[in-house]
């Protein structure tokens, strides 16, 4: 007999919930007692399948409202309120085993017979997985969000939950007061709207109604003797049975309860799972990242399309073949094991020279030592070591073991770098003292290994278990590890995008892709073993040994490219008789500025350089021209590419100067092995069609190459959006191909102005405006809603402003007229600013989105300050 207060009921009207979804259903519980459940159910007769959604504690089916609202035709969505929770009937405490059985009994009562996809959050995870393991015949896929099936050894346990688990605390925080209920929805940043927080709390308005919230916490088995422990262990152990069931893990890494530790545990148990980490999202990941609902439906649609997609992949052109297929990345190094020529020179106060023979033997010893320290094929090893001999030895040793290296660039800034590294979930971290401290502070997981001279006390302080020197020593007496299996194409590196428009994204490369990149560099720049490389550009400093080139690292702070002086560059060149120089434009600017310090000896050494490459940010032709004074014999080139694919195209200074001005920046012909195509923009400025190689059509630049990234790391939805179809990567750049097949870049796709007369790309007009004598820099931005935007130009003056012109605001009439006359596109307004905001990493990419926001404020008549 149910007391009235125990009874299930229908919720009041709530935001985002169609009252028609709410229903009460009778089903027997695990003990055979009839219970009434409240569900949100779209009531569709499924022709494709049913999405069965299971919430955790202390939420309810409200959590899944967006999934119901966005359900495509053919899908039924059933979101349950667990017994005692939400608007379902209040009961005596339920154990995990009972809850799994309760759910099974409910789905039986509902007659869910067709294919089912489970979707769960928090402690709903183990319950849904328990159901999944018992319904293999109808299980189509599994989706999990911030949950756990096991307390990993390296976790202190969800400290907050452990605290709440303490009986006194549990009663007061979970039942007697709504602290726990309210705290759950208070974790989000930015905060959830009040109406959403209230909706989550609505069914838990009294201590009586919250009883199950406390009981649920009490049922978490922290102790192996806990009655629910065996069932949880059983579910965790049997996850391997789901190896052939498609799985998707969606994660909010800011969750103080189910941190990345639990994601790593689940990924180990379900290595085939697709993963998307929503950087910045917290425990209620589907609230903090509302797009998660869209992503789940996309993922499910892709599952249904899979056989078709496979056919499409077969039909499309195969990516260019890898010329040195089969050779490991360290082959060029092994080939020189008896060569005493210089492999790496570190310039600076303590100049250090390492020969190829030395480097090769260090790599071998270190590889053996790393195996002894637990580094295994497939592991990820984060590198927090400045470019030089130690970094090269560590990287090649990891590759020799079959491990992948995670290389973060200090240019990301310490906080973003820490977050990026933590997200990449390395198994080990190799770093200098500063790097290891950063890794500790940022919560980067993994065993710490010290690089460079570090005394025992410091090692103990930072928590380093080993040092590279010790490992190399111990490795010397250990047999070389077996070569990684030659069949597979193992992951070799994770690099990071600059994240100019969001958090940095991890980019995963496999061995074949890195090998192809080396081949592309070798072919494009005709590199031979006669060349020696001076790399003032972090990623390329690593490639000397793989290319079989001696290399030098100039004396500079690699995290600040503008610390490279002309004399430091000359010293590095003369140390290895350098023939090739690779440096970022910021570094070159300082070299030009300090060229007056060069001695005749310096100039003599620099005259031996045959090739200058500069990349990392837009490289003005004037800068390359100025560098010809410093490197008189060098042909200046600028490769175009991105973290996801480099190089894509290349152009020389000679070619830039011969071409003159055009619509955008000419980045040259695609390099050998790269295909470039363009997805034309529609009237609304969206790139929606197929990539095509048609001259003169402006659109999103797409590339195919054997050295294109494998994927974004744990960013399933980003990866999906970046792939047009098999093989094509959408760069997010807008541009066009000319009649001769050269690529012209016209700006970022997100910065294209979408006006009523069609899209306007910013770079062409900016270049024309910047040719005016009174203009230093210009930014062309759109204001107003997409597809009906007006074009606005914001300029930084090169001279003094006329009286009456504000420092940041409407430009004086004569400047305005000059800009309109030169822009080549209709301009609604011309504004002036003291400076334009730029990105952190390169300090040269104009943040046009911020400029647009500022211009919008000014042009509605607001007092807007400066951009």
């Amino acid at each position: 007999m149910t007391r009235a207060s125990d009874a299930a009921r229908l919720p009041p009207p709530l935001v985002g919930v169609d009252p028609a979804w709410s229903r009460l259903v009778r089903a027997v519980d695990a003990e055979g007692i009839a219970r009434t459940w409240h569900l949100l159910d779209n009531g569709v007769t499924p022709t494709i399948g049913t999405l069965l959604c299971v919430h955790g504690n202390p939420t309810w089916s409200f959590l899944w409202r967006r999934f119901i609202a966005q359900a495509p035709p053919g899908w039924r969505v059933v979101a349950v309120d667990q017994l005692g929770m939400g608007w379902s009937e209040r009961t005596t405490p339920r154990t995990l085993a009972q809850r799994v059985d309760d759910l099974g009994s409910l789905t039986e009562a509902l007659g869910l017979t067709g294919p089912v996809v489970t979707l769960a959050h928090d402690w709903g995870g183990p319950i849904s997985l328990g159901w999944a393991l018992e319904h293999r015949d109808q299980l189509r896929a599994v989706v999990l969000t911030n949950t756990a099936v096991h307390q990993p050894a390296d976790a202190a346990g969800p400290a907050l939950i452990r605290l709440a688990h303490t009986p006194g605390v549990r009663q007061s925080s979970c039942v007697a007061t709504p602290t726990f209920v309210r705290a759950t929805t208070a974790l989000s940043r930015p905060a959830l709207p009040r109406e959403v927080r209230d909706a989550f709390a609505a069914p838990y308005a009294s201590a009586f109604r919250r009883q199950a919230v406390g009981d649920f916490v009490a049922d978490i088995p922290f102790d192996p003797r806990h009655p629910s422990a065996p069932r949880l262990d059983d579910i965790a152990a049997r996850l391997s049975e789901l190896a052939d069931v498609p799985a998707l893990l969606l994660w909010g890494p800011r969750d103080p309860v189910f941190s990345d530790v639990y994601l790593r545990d689940l990924r180990k148990r379900m290595p085939h799972a697709d993963v998307h980490r929503y950087e910045g999202a917290s425990h209620l990941v589907t609230e903090d990242a509302p797009l998660a609902a869209t992503h789940v439906w996309q993922w499910l649609a892709d599952l249904a399309d899979l056989p078709e997609a496979d056919r499409e992949a077969d039909a499309s052109d195969p990516p260019p073949t890898d010329q040195s297929a089969g050779e490991p990345l360290w082959a060029a190094l092994s080939a020189r094991s008896n060569d005493h020529a210089t492999a790496i020179v570190e310039l600076g106060a303590h100049e250090r020279r390492v020969s190829f023979a030395q480097l090769e033997s260090t790599v071998r010893d270190l590889a053996a030592g790393l195996v002894g320290a637990g580094v295994r094929p497939g592991h990820r090893v984060a590198m927090l070591v400045p470019p030089g001999a130690d970094l090269s030895a560590a990287v090649y040793a990891c590759w020799r073991v079959g491990a992948s290296v995670v290389v973060a660039d200090a240019g990301l800034g310490v906080r973003r770098m820490g977050r990026a590294l933590r997200g990449s979930a390395p198994d080990h971290v190799i770093g200098i003292a500063k790097g290891l401290l950063l890794a500790r502070a940022a919560g980067v997981p993994g065993q710490l290994i010290a690089a460079g001279p570090l005394d025992r006390a410091t090692m103990a302080l930072v928590g380093a278990a080993h040092s590279l020197a010790d490992l190399a020593r111990s490795g010397r007496s250990t047999p070389l590890p077996a070569l990684p299996s030659p069949d597979g194409d193992p992951e070799m590196a994770v690099l990071f995008t600059s994240g100019a428009t969001g958090p940095p994204k991890g980019v995963v490369y496999r061995q074949g892709q890195l090998r192809a990149q080396l081949a592309a560099l070798r072919t494009t720049y005709r590199l031979t073993t006669e060349d020696r490389l001076v790399a003032a550009f972090a990623p390329f400093a690593l490639y000397g040994p793989a290319l079989g080139l001696g290399s030098a690292v100039p004396d500079m702070d690699v995290t600040a490219p503008d610390t490279l002086t002309a004399t430091a560059l000359a010293d590095a060149v003369s140390a290895v008789d350098g023939t090739v120089v690779f440096a970022s434009p910021a570094a070159l600017r300082n070299v030009v500025a300090t060229a007056h310090d060069l001695t005749p000896q310096h100039r003599h050494a620099l005259a031996g350089v045959r090739l200058l490459m500069s990349a990392g940010a837009p490289v003005p032709a004037s800068l390359l021209r100025a560098m010809t004074e410093v490197l008189p014999a060098a042909e200046a080139h600028t490769p175009y590419g991105m973290t996801e694919c480099l190089p894509v195209a290349d152009i020389s200074l000679t070619e830039i100067e011969a071409l003159g001005a055009g619509d955008g920046v000419c980045v040259g012909h695609p390099v050998a092995g790269v295909t470039v195509a363009v997805i034309a923009l529609d009237a609304d400025g969206r790139a929606v069609g197929d990539p095509a190689v048609t001259a003169g059509v402006t659109g999103e630049v797409c590339v195919r190459a054997a050295h294109l990234k494998d994927r974004y790391d744990q960013l399933w939805a980003t990866e999906r959006a970046s792939r047009h179809s098999s093989g094509w990567h959408r760069t997010g750049d807008a541009g066009h191909l000319d009649d001769d097949g050269r690529l012209w870049v016209e700006g970022r796709l997100v910065h294209v102005v979408t006006g009523p007369d069609g899209p306007v790309t910013p770079v062409g007009p900016e270049q024309r405006i910047e040719a005016l004598p009174q203009v230093d820099t210009a930014a062309v931005v759109g204001v107003g809603p997409a597809a009906t935007q007006q074009t606005v130009v914001v300029v930084v003056r090169s001279g003094t402003a006329p009286p009456g012109e504000p420092r940041d605001g409407l430009a004086a009439p004569d400047l305005s007229a000059a800009v309109r006359a030169s822009a080549g596109v209709p301009v609604a307004a011309v504004l002036v600013a003291r400076a334009l905001p730029v990105d952190i990493r390169h300090a040269s990419k104009i943040d046009r989105s911020r400029v647009s926001d500022w211009a919008t404020s000014v042009l509605v008549g607001k007092r807007a300050g400066r951009p």
Binding site: G784, L831, L859, V860, G861
Partner: protein
């Protein structure tokens, strides 16, 4: 086509009547005072229902421009001219079996004082509209579109800030104030404002007569689609007219405060019997808002439904204006 044009004494009404006649339509004009146009003419008050029924009879289309356009005055006058007048026109059309009615409205009917940035024609809102003119036009548009039905197709066209040679409303007032040094720049002068060169507005109204069936029941904003910072637009118009360009800035809050006070004083004076002829006050709150907030519009729907695009650019329009003032 037999077309009746109401309110042909203003710049837009005159030119539209002439344009319709020039392409061969059989045009009659209707207003209270002789227009001087070489066209058949009925002298009547649109609010006079019997006179309107008689005037409308036998026409295929009515283009209704007649309205009280001002920034001050008594509500009763606006209500009679704009709301009752429109109701009278709609009723006459319905009674006489006229098939097309083009009602000339104003973007101010949907403007509550906030900036309008690239929006379409939003629903007319008499309670939110600012000032007697905008409120009365909002009611008028509701009345007009309420008459849209099976036999009578009604479309409301909202031309935004129409100007051109011979314009006494916008250009005339700006130039007169600029010459007497009473034209300040309100706020930063940077608010983006769209406007309509008169020829483009005429073309749009002619197109609306032709496309009345396809666009019926809709309100459509018409503009050049070339917004400019308000300070720049006013300076350009002054320059074309040979008047001094404004240099004095008045911050918006001060302008609004003064404008509000002026509104209140003028309202009091007008409410008094024998209050005298106040003319236009130098500034009203409505005007202050109009000149310091952005107003520009999404023209895609208008262009698609009317099959019309502006033929004269802002630059060409300014050149024609300068020609008319002999300042080129």
């Amino acid at each position: 086509m037999k077309v009746l044009v109401t309110g042909a004494s203003g710049m837009l009404g005159r030119q539209t009547a002439l344009a319709l006649a020039a392409r061969g339509d059989d045009v009659t004009v209707l207003q209270r005072h002789p227009s001087g146009l070489p066209l058949p003419e009925v002298l009547a008050d649109v609010a006079d229902r019997a006179a309107m029924r008689a005037a409308v009879a036998g026409h295929d289309a009515v283009l209704h421009l007649a309205a009280k356009v001002n920034v001050t005055g008594r509500w009763a006058d606006y209500e009679r001219a704009n709301v009752q007048g429109t109701a009278s026109v709609v009723q006459a059309c319905a009674a006489s079996g006229v098939e097309r009615l083009v009602h000339v409205s104003s973007p101010s009917v949907a403007h509550s004082g906030a900036s309008l940035v690239g929006v379409g024609a939003e629903v007319a809102d008499p309670t939110g509209a600012r000032g007697h003119y905008a409120r009365s036009k909002a009611y008028a548009e509701q009345v007009a579109l309420g008459g849209d039905g099976e036999t009578l197709a009604v479309v409301a066209i909202r031309p935004h800030l129409v100007w051109g040679p011979g314009d006494t409303q916008l250009v005339g007032r700006l130039v007169e104030r600029a010459q007497s040094g009473r034209l300040p720049i309100i706020g930063s002068g940077a608010a983006l404002i769209d406007s309509t060169y008169v020829t483009n507005a005429v073309d749009a109204l002619v197109a609306a007569v032709d496309r009345c069936r396809e666009a019926h029941g809709q309100a459509l904003v018409v503009s050049n689609g070339e917004p400019r910072p308000v300070g720049e637009l006013i300076a350009d118009i002054c320059r074309a007219a040979g008047a001094p360009t404004p240099t004095r800035h008045v911050p918006f809050p001060a302008a609004a405060l003064v404008g509000g006070l002026v509104d209140a004083i003028w309202a009091t004076r007008l409410a008094l019997p024998f209050g005298g002829s106040p003319g236009d006050p130098p500034l009203t709150r409505f005007l202050a808002e109009q000149l310091s907030t952005a107003h520009w519009f999404d023209q895609r729907r208008t262009r698609e439904l009317l099959k019309w695009t502006p033929a004269v650019s802002l630059e060409q329009g300014l050149a024609e204006l300068a020609d008319s003032f002999g300042t080129t």
